[in-house]
Amino acid sequence: MISLRRRLFLILLAATGLIWLCAVAWISIGSRSELERVLDTRLQEAARMVHSLVMTGERMQGAPEMGPASILPSAAGGYERQLSCQIWSFDGRLLARSSGAPEAVLAGEREGFTDREVDGETWRVYTIVDPQKDVRVVVGDRIGLRDKLVRDLVAGLAAPALLAMPLLGLLIWWSLGRGLRPLNKAAEEIAAREGEDMRPVPPDGAPSEIQPLIGALNGLFAKVEAARAHERDVTAFAAHELRTPLAGLKTQAQVALAAGEAQVRENALRQIIVSVDRASRLVKQLLALARLDAGAAGAARETSIGALIRDIVAAVPHPPNVRTIIDPALGPLVRQLDPDTLSLVLRNLQENAVQNMTAGTIRWFAEGPDKLVIEDEGPGIPGEELGLVRQRFYRGRAVAGAGSGLGLAIADTAATRIGAHLDLANREDRAGLRAVVQLSP
């Protein structure tokens, strides 16, 4: 992309040049017509003057040739002999002519202005016909000289302009530099930033034209910063959530090694197994989240939702007093979507329900064609925490250390990924959580 300064420079220079050209054309046309008028008037006057001086045709016989200076005052710069004068008698004899005037007849017999070509030169001629004096006075002007006059006039105007052109260019270039300085300043300020620097660019002092750009840039900075902060939080949480079971493992192993009593050692070993199970489940969930975040959803295909729920319910281990009932009406429900992602949603909802219950019934059923509902008989979620439980690693105050705090976050993210929506609410008929997966129609 050509630089803004060069682009503006070229445009300004072209525009100035064009205006000058127009001005030159205007001046040359205007001055030409004015010149024609003035010179024609002069021609006419000259002819009248000569006419008033001449005697009759008879008496002009043998009159000496008139010098050019007698008619035309000598002019400088190649404009001498501009005018030529001939005096003809009515019977076609050339009575007199100015020096340098052609011998051929310059004009016809009609009085007034005529244009005519004589000896390869175009003449503008004024003729006075005087039958009383028996003369025709013809005064002519070379058109070529007139053209030269106009050309010289225009050249006289254009030459300084052409000389001024480079100066003007320089001035434009410098002015553009000055005018664009705030832009350059803003650009330099942004260019000089560290890659990590996400502070907003101060919008004051920037020209109003780039204010929207700076606004957009600051918006982008804010977004990137928020995304990075989110990433940092998730990483910090993941580190915490992984390190705690690891610390538990190490501590219990050390206890098992140091303990003298068999009971203490056995308890420590049991705790190690619990800890390993939890850590591996956590790792699995973190991987699922990472995959969801990467946006790698599988291809949509014909999926039997009833069969999917049956498989999940069979795979999730239940405590002895907890059972799950699946509404038979879910059986024939078939949708076109990615079964793996949907199964992430449903499995995490099922696990969440099982985890929060010691005894009771979990129910899966459909409400209308697009709503999958799961209701449990656990304690539900305190009202003020309902909005928070989808956050990653958020664990309710009531449930210390029970889950990883990722299950509902995964269910929510996965639902979004397949265009579905997850609604969480406490049951109205009794204690318990009611989760609704609203599939896209």
Partner: protein, 220 residues
Amino acid sequence: MRILLVEDDPVLADGVRAGLVLAGLTVDAVTTCADAHAALGICRFDAVVLDLMLPDGSGLDVLARLRARQDATPVLVLTALDETPDRIRGLDAGADDYLGKPFDLDELAARLRALARRGGGRASALMHHGPIAIDPATLAVSLEGSPVPVSRREFAVLSMLMERPGVIRSRGELEERLYGWQEEVESNTIEVYVHNLRAKLGRDLIETVRGIGYRLRVPA
């Protein structure tokens, strides 16, 4: 030494508790900020082991409230957030030490002993009284250079008395130091431990102040 452990992860809390008990410490464990506030309000602990990410808030709040009460109980922050800025924030908030997870149980015990030692204003890890020397790190007691075997509880009673020779410790104080809340306090046990210590280290070592408690006899 009596320690308050504030940690919400059940496996880790159980492990730390078991490990510190093996190291001769008495441990009370709580899982939330609220319980930590309550415990610190009621009892005196020699040190607190504090996790930062708790289900009902940050351990730093517990720390801030503790320090706002002008309570100088040594606090060791135990957390997975162990980047340098986190450590700085924790230490500036009033923590005395910082240990990142996962950690070594022996190191945790050693740091707690060091905290308690500094809290008691002692420079040496060993405590001396006349011909008797005790080492809290190894729970070892020696009399004129030769080792004397004592039980964990006996050591606890002896070390509490040796921290302030000549100062009377009531039976309640000694019991509080010896037993966590979860433990059943058997009657007369303090008398039994004192009796055993006298048998092992000499009749005149521990003086009974009738109706009040016990103290180490300071040579006149």
